[in-house]
Subunit: 449 residues, 2 copies
Amino acid sequence: MSLDNSGYSGLVLEKLSSSNIKVGDTLSIKKDDEEYVGVLMPRSQVGSDQFHVIIKLESGYNIGIKLDQGSEVNRIKAGKKKRTTPAEKEPDVKGLPTASILSTGGTIASKVDYRTGAVNPALSAQDLYDTVPELRNYSKVNAKVIMSVLSENIRPSDWTKIAHSVASEIKEGADGVVIAHGTDTLGFTSAALSFALQNLPVPVVLVGSQRSSDRPSSDAAMNLIGAITLATKADAAEVFILMHAETGDSYLHAHRGTRARKLHSSRRDAFQSVNDYPIFSVTGEEVKELRVPLLRRNKERKLTLKPKFEEKVALVKTNPGIEALTIDHLVETGYRGIVIEGTGLGHAPDRLQPSIKKAIDAGIVVAMTTQCLFGRVDMNVYRSGVELLDIGVIPCEDMIPETALVKLMWVLANTKDQETAKELLTKPLAGEIDMRSEESEYVKGLGGD
Amino acid sequence: MSLDNSGYSGLVLEKLSSSNIKVGDTLSIKKDDEEYVGVLMPRSQVGSDQFHVIIKLESGYNIGIKLDQGSEVNRIKAGKKKRTTPAEKEPDVKGLPTASILSTGGTIASKVDYRTGAVNPALSAQDLYDTVPELRNYSKVNAKVIMSVLSENIRPSDWTKIAHSVASEIKEGADGVVIAHGTDTLGFTSAALSFALQNLPVPVVLVGSQRSSDRPSSDAAMNLIGAITLATKADAAEVFILMHAETGDSYLHAHRGTRARKLHSSRRDAFQSVNDYPIFSVTGEEVKELRVPLLRRNKERKLTLKPKFEEKVALVKTNPGIEALTIDHLVETGYRGIVIEGTGLGHAPDRLQPSIKKAIDAGIVVAMTTQCLFGRVDMNVYRSGVELLDIGVIPCEDMIPETALVKLMWVLANTKDQETAKELLTKPLAGEIDMRSEESEYVKGLGGD
């Protein structure tokens, strides 16, 4: 890592420069009779003020210290490239299970991205491993950067690439695969991998972070260590999302890859299982099974790789202003599938029905989910649902809209036939549909009273 | 109400017909040494089996009884039209506050809709009042049917009609207005009325039901009574949604009209406040204030009616497969506003940026919300957010996507100027935006451990 101090500005930059301190150097800060010693971390947040400096304490925890004119800043020693060579590392990890970490980008990999003045994916998986030296007590780690993309830019073709990379790690003997990924579309990618990687022999764990690793409150290290722990220890072989279970640093939840959703824009426990419960919790080194996984770990099992996705599938959320021309336009521009995020039990305005019928008659697969997110569609209760069923709209049961979108993309890459697509879409393949999910699988606010 | 028994079929119809029992008649059912006496209720569910009969017990509770060949069914007395004339009713309600009930359709008004074999809006507000005689202990009720629409078919022009009707009831002296409405788009309508009805002198309470009133588990009566209680008793003057606070029949929550969302397709407590807490709870006749309302009740206050909405505003939910042509098409077909339901803190794929810029340059207002639903957008943290801000995308803070859509429709009906629209959109008008909402306003599942 070539680090400089360009992430800082104003007073902080002045003080750092005058002592010739660069990011990565160990420094001491004396302020108000206190002395702090640590490694200078880069700043990557847009709008960082000019007064705070971030250092990593020996404890591994990052803190922000506000400098004033009287603060004394001294360099203790220059930073050096800490990367251990495989030769040095090998003795420590002999006999430990092997986890492959595949880095795709996102906040969890955003540490050294301070030059642009905003958080960008840049950190390699090896850098992550270097950042969290404890990892080598848990597992032998093979770290690779397979792409460097903010997750809002991840496309279905990227899912294909990731699936191939996972398959290749498994082929090479990994006991578990960890994928570091931005949280924005983590739920879409986990659903995609759940369908693309069938008959998994080992677990595949997607992990992200809600606060970048140079922020004092970062969840990156704990999530990553937890992901490696789960990947190497869990007696399961399916795709999971592992993230904080609550806002503190007490424990993590592993959600089924087809059932998790980012439900909060900033909280560390943003991910929750929808119409399902978490499958494992991870507390420190302890992995606790909360629900029976779909498959047990078995390295003899042969992976079935089905990595293709049809991109021409649209997600349409109905609302009181929606016009039929929205559907017509999808038909005209070659879409092969439409997932409607309808209201309530799976309804759409009556005025869309002629266009939906035209789409289905043209061979397009139209599926219904609910924008409520929680609960299942049941199109047999009300007239408008019954009419949509008659037209040929496919009810997606308790599948969340995002998973239904990804699954239909996957289904349409695997069959050209409308009837086969319908069957595949409604058949549970990766825990994405439960014909008997219960209303108790719901989230509730504090209520305020 | 002219009631017959056509909602039943098979064995039940046979037994009812042979004793000449019609819906509305009081009957006794003897089965397995038990005798049940009650009023025959209509059946309206699609797929009702042919063996269950629904009767309303004297307690007011509906139960379903499964008949078999040996069951004995007898008519005790014929149903009669129970509607009391205003002359008969007046003495009971003298001095009580007046609530206007405006019925728009939906499940809460679906009781007599059994002829079609599915639930359709049909019941008049007066029928609702007749169904729940306890109402006259609480309030004088003026009931009107203003439309009869399943809520998935409600359009912005219907919000205008409803707003006019509410204004007219307030002008005529109502102490509170209750609107019976389907739950599917109840949150959209409540947001619309929150902007259309400014400076309210009295509360406006939207209410729905998740189970139709002829089902044993119906929440219709409790919700409606609660809505009238809130409308006449609460010391507040804003738009609320009142629904069950939990699955049992213990109490109700009044959510701010701009903050509530249907988060479950079937649970009675489907509605929850997002990025906010409920404002009142209603337990029986008791109304408890949980948060300070925006305005206190004051019948001297003069309502400002701004009932217009621009229909050409689209809601676009980003996803890994979304194409720029989706945005281009909206520009080409005359849309004036676009609300993006982006990922995370308010991001959209980079590949959409040229089209979004083209839209804004063409005078279209483009606003950003988050598909996480909970939490706020903060487009200053990551590069892709910063770039969208630079293009002119408007961050909607902690406003939920549905409310942002409705508000932009309302804003664009009130101004033609892009800059004024931007100001209005981000200025809190009805509690829809809080610059300091907290992360604690979140919902959490049981977690499974």
